[in-house]
């Protein structure tokens, strides 16, 4: 298996551990990732607030770079916001005649063009659909037995474009977690919004959302996420959330590939658990039992 890999801006900065652990997990599974050297920002949620055309041209530029490579691969995208933006280009082009021409009129400035048809897929989709729990299980070196995980899918990995799981009651991560030997925390918050970009522009509102999520996660040992924005919102404002709910809501928030990597027996240089903000001591102790993150000699 081989994919074009779009890491996106967050995975070069605040979500570096998502990037490193995703690549390490794929290496362990023998899957090749091809990164496009000249990739640029997809516009995040900012471009669409300013200009519709810009919000399409920015992701399309990356699809055009991939098209130039002339290889039959899908685009693999770990960040939910990037995924939505890249996939939107094809979804909208299917419905709006002349849209690709308009996009290409702009891309022509750089001598680029995109003709449609490169499949943009979320990392979660690739893990559950192409890889699957059996292949994951075959690589497990240390079962994470007794670890209770709250599965958090967020919004844009599933809505508006999903197709690989129920966008309201998603469950596709469950067999994966079971393949790792871990347990699934029972909650109904998996597809609820974390506040996303409101954490920057309307902080009080976003804190309301994250504190409800953290409250519902009580009883779990950690939360598994598949989006840098969700991870940041859940991981970095726990003190504030604990104040709002007047109880201690601290909990470790991992990226799914970090959890998979733990069970694969990968070392800290591949997992980068030290980069997560909230990595609670109680969990550290628990993970030590599985000898997780201990660099192998």
């Amino acid at each position: 298996m081989k994919y074009f890999y779009y890491s996106g801006c967050s995975l070069e900065g605040t979500a570096l551990e998502y990037n490193i652990s995703t690549q390490a997990m794929m290496r362990a599974l023998g899957i090749e990732l091809l990164e496009l050297e000249d990739w640029t920002c997809c516009g995040a949620s900012a471009a669409e607030s300013i200009s519709d055309l810009l919000s399409l041209v920015l992701p399309a530029r990356n699809l055009a770079l991939a098209e130039q490579m002339d290889m039959d691969c899908d685009f693999l995208i770990p960040c939910s916001a990037c995924y939505l933006n890249l996939r939107k280009v094809d979804e909208r082009a299917k419905k709006e005649e002349g849209l690709l021409d308009k996009i290409n009129e702009v891309l022509g400035e750089e001598g680029l063009g995109y003709h449609g048809g490169i499949k943009s897929r979320h990392l979660l989709d690739v893990i559950v659909t192409d890889i699957g729990p059996e292949m994951i299980r075959s690589q497990v070196k240390r079962e994470l037995s007794g670890l209770r995980v709250a599965l958090y899918y967020g919004c844009q990995a599933l809505r508006p474009y999903g197709g690989y799981d129920d966008p309201e009651q998603p469950r596709c991560m469950e067999p994966l977690i079971e393949a790792l030997g871990a347990e699934v925390h029972d909650w109904t918050m998996g597809a609820k919004c974390c506040g996303a970009g409101l954490m920057t522009t309307k902080k009080e509102v976003a804190i309301e959302l994250t504190s409800s999520l953290l409250e519902a996660a009580k009883g779990a040992d950690c939360i598994a996420t598949v989006c840098p924005m969700c991870q940041m919102n859940l991981d970095s404002y726990q003190k504030k959330a604990s104040e709002v709910k007047q109880e201690n809501l601290s909990i470790s928030v991992f990226y799914l590939p970090q959890l998979i990597g733990m069970a694969f027996g990968l070392g800290e240089e591949d997992l980068k658990l030290g980069l997560n903000m909230a990595y609670t001591n109680s969990l550290k102790a628990k993970l030590a039992e599985y000898r997780v993150g201990i660099t192998q000699q």
Binding site: E12, L16, T40, L53, G108, C155
Partner: protein, 188 residues
């Protein structure tokens, strides 16, 4: 008018952007499913359902004075659940665009977006720390950055934010594309 002239005239019809947004919610039957699905409606002055009604009635001033669309976090729940299948999140994005274009957008949100997009234009990619620094500079607010300080400091301690851009991305990286977008959008 000859046929050729007619075609030309059609091509240059200026589409009223407001009318295009109204069209998106024309079929709304006011059932309230969107409001019931919206995680942020508790903080909005008008609920999403009310927003569509205001749109239908063309209450432009009330609409742009409301906090509703700047409180949308693009979760796509309303879009998913609307029994009429209306592109509601997209309608909100269009409203945000229009508010920015008309200079009536709420300052805090639109500044952030503008700063973000400006960084993309210059460097092609976004470095979060640089983005935050520019954003707070544009806010000219000495107090606001403090609400982010714990995060900023934590990020730096973790060595996650590097202020340096890769060499590939010199200033002006995406200038040509941005200019062209402005030109194409300006002429349509």
């Amino acid at each position: 008018m000859s046929e050729e002239k007619l075609e030309l005239a059609e091509e240059h019809t200026i589409v009223d952007p407001m009318a295009a947004i109204q069209e998106k919610v024309r079929a709304c039957m006011q059932c309230g499913t969107c409001t019931g699905s919206c995680a942020n409606s508790f903080a909005m002055d008008y609920t999403p359902r009310q927003l569509w009604r205001m749109l239908q009635l063309g209450l432009t001033d009330e609409l742009f004075n409301s906090k509703t669309f700047s409180l949308c976090s693009s979760c796509y729940y309303c879009t998913l659940r609307c029994p009429r299948g209306l592109p509601l999140t997209e309608a909100i994005h269009s409203l945000k665009q229009l508010a920015v274009a008309r200079g009536i957008s709420e300052k805090k949100g639109s500044r952030f977006y503008r700063t973000f997009v400006e960084t993309v234009r210059r460097y092609g990619r976004v470095r979060e720390m640089e983005l935050m620094a520019r954003y707070f500079l544009s806010m000219k607010s000495p107090i606001l950055p403090l609400s982010f300080t714990p995060l900023g400091v934590k990020l730096m301690l973790k060595g996650k934010v590097s202020p340096e851009m890769p060499k590939l991305y010199g200033p002006g990286k995406l200038d040509a594309i941005f200019r062209k977008v402005e030109q194409v959008e300006g002429s349509s």
